[in-house]
Symmetry: C2
Subunit: 661 residues, 2 copies
Amino acid sequence: MTQHERNVYLVDIPLDEARARLTEVLQAAGRWVLLPGETVSVTEALGRVTAAPVWAKLSSPHYHTAAMDGYAVWAADTVNATETRPLKLRVVPKPASGTGEKGDQGGVAGLAYAVNTGDPLPPDTNAVIMIEHVQQVGEEFVEIRAAVASWQHVRPLGEDMVATELVLPVNHRIRPVDLGALAGSGNSTVLVRRAPRVAIIPTGSELIPAGRTPQPGQIIEYNSLVLAAQVQEAGGATTVSDIVPDDVDQLRAAIQTALGQSPDLLLVLSGSSAGSRDHTASLVGELGELLVHGIAVRPGHPVIIGMIEGIPVIGVPGYPVSAALTGELFVEPLLAHWGGKPSALESRTRVQAVTTRKIQSPIGDDDFVRVTVAPVGERLLATPLNRGAGVITSLVRADGLAQIPRFSEGIDSGQAVDVILYRTLDEIQHTLLLMGSHDPMLDFLGQYLTEHSPGWRLVSGHVGSLGGLVALRRKEAHAAGIHLLNPQTGAYNIDDVRKYLPDEPLILMTFAHREQGLIVAPGNPLAIQSLDDLPRVRYINRQRGAGTRVLLDYELAKRNIAPTNVSGYDREEFTHLAVAAAVASGAADCGLGVRSAAIAMNLDFISVGWERYDLVLPTAYHDDPGVKALRELLTGDEFPQALGAHPGYDTRETGQIQYTQ
Amino acid sequence: MTQHERNVYLVDIPLDEARARLTEVLQAAGRWVLLPGETVSVTEALGRVTAAPVWAKLSSPHYHTAAMDGYAVWAADTVNATETRPLKLRVVPKPASGTGEKGDQGGVAGLAYAVNTGDPLPPDTNAVIMIEHVQQVGEEFVEIRAAVASWQHVRPLGEDMVATELVLPVNHRIRPVDLGALAGSGNSTVLVRRAPRVAIIPTGSELIPAGRTPQPGQIIEYNSLVLAAQVQEAGGATTVSDIVPDDVDQLRAAIQTALGQSPDLLLVLSGSSAGSRDHTASLVGELGELLVHGIAVRPGHPVIIGMIEGIPVIGVPGYPVSAALTGELFVEPLLAHWGGKPSALESRTRVQAVTTRKIQSPIGDDDFVRVTVAPVGERLLATPLNRGAGVITSLVRADGLAQIPRFSEGIDSGQAVDVILYRTLDEIQHTLLLMGSHDPMLDFLGQYLTEHSPGWRLVSGHVGSLGGLVALRRKEAHAAGIHLLNPQTGAYNIDDVRKYLPDEPLILMTFAHREQGLIVAPGNPLAIQSLDDLPRVRYINRQRGAGTRVLLDYELAKRNIAPTNVSGYDREEFTHLAVAAAVASGAADCGLGVRSAAIAMNLDFISVGWERYDLVLPTAYHDDPGVKALRELLTGDEFPQALGAHPGYDTRETGQIQYTQ
């Protein structure tokens, strides 16, 4: 297949234009309308959206109601009662259904009907006297010592709702209290929008369903899970077909089967490979009309939009981040429109945040960059996550999407960017930002923080030890995690803190001592004994600024080994686990890292020595409740004990202040 | 039953103390813990909460992956390629499973394996050249004109997730993208918190289930619907028993049956009457331990808390608002605790708003006052709704709860109050506040506004025409609806606007002409002909300041009828529908109101004349997009036409500006 053939339809059009084309063609097909209503019982109506205004069929209360336990009276009968001249009323023990006798009968001012709260007012009564305010006189009479006003302690008919009044407007999402108002106004059923039906076809010969162990070349298919869940959250019902291989006839048959069930929308999910095996666009053109193939949006480019037999079809790109964002940008807004609701993306909180790194963006694209968001000092900071379209964890970790509009080339670090938040602003405000060297146990610390200080969370950015110090200098983190060896003295951390943050009041508190060493394949097949062996094997390095890299350079210098003699010295990974993964895959023979990373990946470990990993905590944030909670964890007993139980961690100095300035 | 017997347990304790007692006894019973986990498939996990951290079982990708369609190569083979001296590579058409031949073979620099995006990198390759960057030379060879860097266009193993890495923390609510991360990391099942099981017993002899038509004295039971829905939204599973009458033995049996199913929590819902027929407290004492009977919280006082056989029991008061708030204050927070989540009430946005009316509050109570919230000018305004505990519509209409803490006697109008919002701040910001005279068609206008300007909503407060003008003067509304007759001139609205808002630039725009008249019983049994008949019948009046009351006074003066000669002149209702309801119930013989109210309640109507109902629109808010949208509706064609189709409304002047100042 030539380049020309592959790209025949792939002409990116702007996001707005793609949306407009879909809207137009749905309008033309009579499908740009709200979904019709269906009648459901109030017991099934929670979370549904009203398809018509709901009017009260009954008034509530539907009769004048006693609001207290006591006696129902005709108020005018009581006007002459005073403290000194009590009035006597004849007790009618049970509410009579007919009209009771009324009027003065031998020293009796009137009748007093015994009522409980909630009872209907007997005829010819218009007030209730509380039981506490009468004096029982035998079985038959009560005495009162004050007049009562008309309608005292009475809930009048219609106090809550008057029949014919509006109970709920159309397009209203039904909440628990609304169910009460519906039932109380005589509506035991309610007309709600029918759930949109969405058919989903995952395609791709390399895909296998979740639950099976993938072989090389096989990928677990989960875009259908993500898209189906998005549809479900939007109130839709889904049918997910089996995975269809990259075969034009099988895919055609699957599309025809799905369309036969008259869905409101069909989603065809590409495998993550896309490329030359993608038949979706040509099939949409063959079976119906291909409207869009390629949208100038990042991530997401190869989105397909078409119509077959009056049913809209969206071809969802295979890379997981692109797929999820296509769901947010196209699928959910369409379902929301059909349901008479604003789209989730529109409803999200938008904030301005300062980006901590330069974000480059292609000038022609609407670019959505996943970011973490945290408040440091007076500023709200957005830190871009891994931008790879295959990195679903970047969406899992994202606090929001920074939106870089078309015709912008990006945002410089330190500039403001618009962020659509995935979390509430309140959650964001309770975020501690720790930048610096990666340690697998920072997640463990984060768990402790969340458990002991509910609402608080720890976000850690892996930028290496020096990166952490730079972040503190730029006021872009609450804390930095560092393990920086001074090659002259062999001491840890203090000298670099002095050098990089000379004017910042701070403390240096130990997180733990960690065992560093060479991570090697199980059984150590190349018989690597020490760093002296590096010149003869393939090494995998950490990035510049990482403490582990400083340690390597220190040890290489001691041994008079030039970096150019280490194969792979220039190949960088950003975390201990990534180094271990490179060794596990056979891509490298060894790398320097912490013992826990070797254990996690079932690899062997050759100890090089222990290093001190400290947290740098600027005084400026010491009163921040999250920082306080973090310090309490480190200086307490429970967390150090739990951390020390992990091999490769020594917590005898955890929580100790090593240095103050 | 004497007063003493009725109140034996009813000693109000503060809210915090009640919560603390429940916590203590649950701790003692070993039930103040997170619910255990249960394993569910990822397809069932949406919205559930993780019961343990989830770690990656697989790396993702789990092999080095081609990120482009093209040729996989060993980067070092390509170093000598230049524009002028292309290098030739031998094509290996299909990815071989073993190691391919490698090295220089007669002018060939190395091998080039054809790969598609997503394919695993063949052994001994470490970069991908895009198909666009090679020149095909026959079937067997490709030529390249530039060197490639190692790992170019390769997604390395573990780029997304490295096996053993944390995928999701514990106590994390699972979202659609999380399902992708779970499945992609080899977790096809996940341990989530078991849903708490809540048994609900509605009690009350006066109650009937929704769907039946209530007779006098009967009340539709809907608190079980509201509480069950609250539990459902909190992730719980409910069992709702049939309504149990006020009979101690039947209630005992129902409680024992419910406890037999080992729920995590039992809710006994009182009928709305409570009072002498309430057996819940004594039964909790008899079967277990009664911990709390009565909490100093408004609304909600008679809450019961106890333990039976280690299972917590909450007795929920019968008044609907009290019941719903007990759900929010006690039930949901308990379920949230068991689920490891913050409670919904804690998670809601809190704002400070200025109250437009004095809120009186008992000094000993934590008081939760339902309010509407709207932004007018620079201020956020909170307007209290009907405070009756039986008025569920006040919760339906509430935008939030104003919280008046213990030891406060209330909040003066114009003072700031803390409000817990039920809506997002964004929804609140898109609120138009219309104060003034009630008209049933204002809801109709609100529907049009929401449909034509999605996101916008109209909140109307019924304070009478003069109340509306006062609200504008105090900058407490965007618009006022008025129908105020000048008794001297017979003209409408302009004179009162001049008198009450002399210095406010504004326009007066007509909403409609409305037909006012006497609302009488069907068939007009008392043969009421005109207002001249008022002295011989029972009248129901509107509140002071209402335009309809001004009209009545004008007409009575014309007829020389003294108000004291009108029986019921001092009995006030706040809306036309409430007047009609009073007539329908037989509580009054007639009242003055609009024709639509008579029609709504199937009553007869004796016309008194037509009046002009105008909207007062201060110039200060004319640029507000909501006000603009409202004016466009009134001056357009569609809304006036739809309004004019209702009997009793004449729209020939709708949208006309009657006056400008």
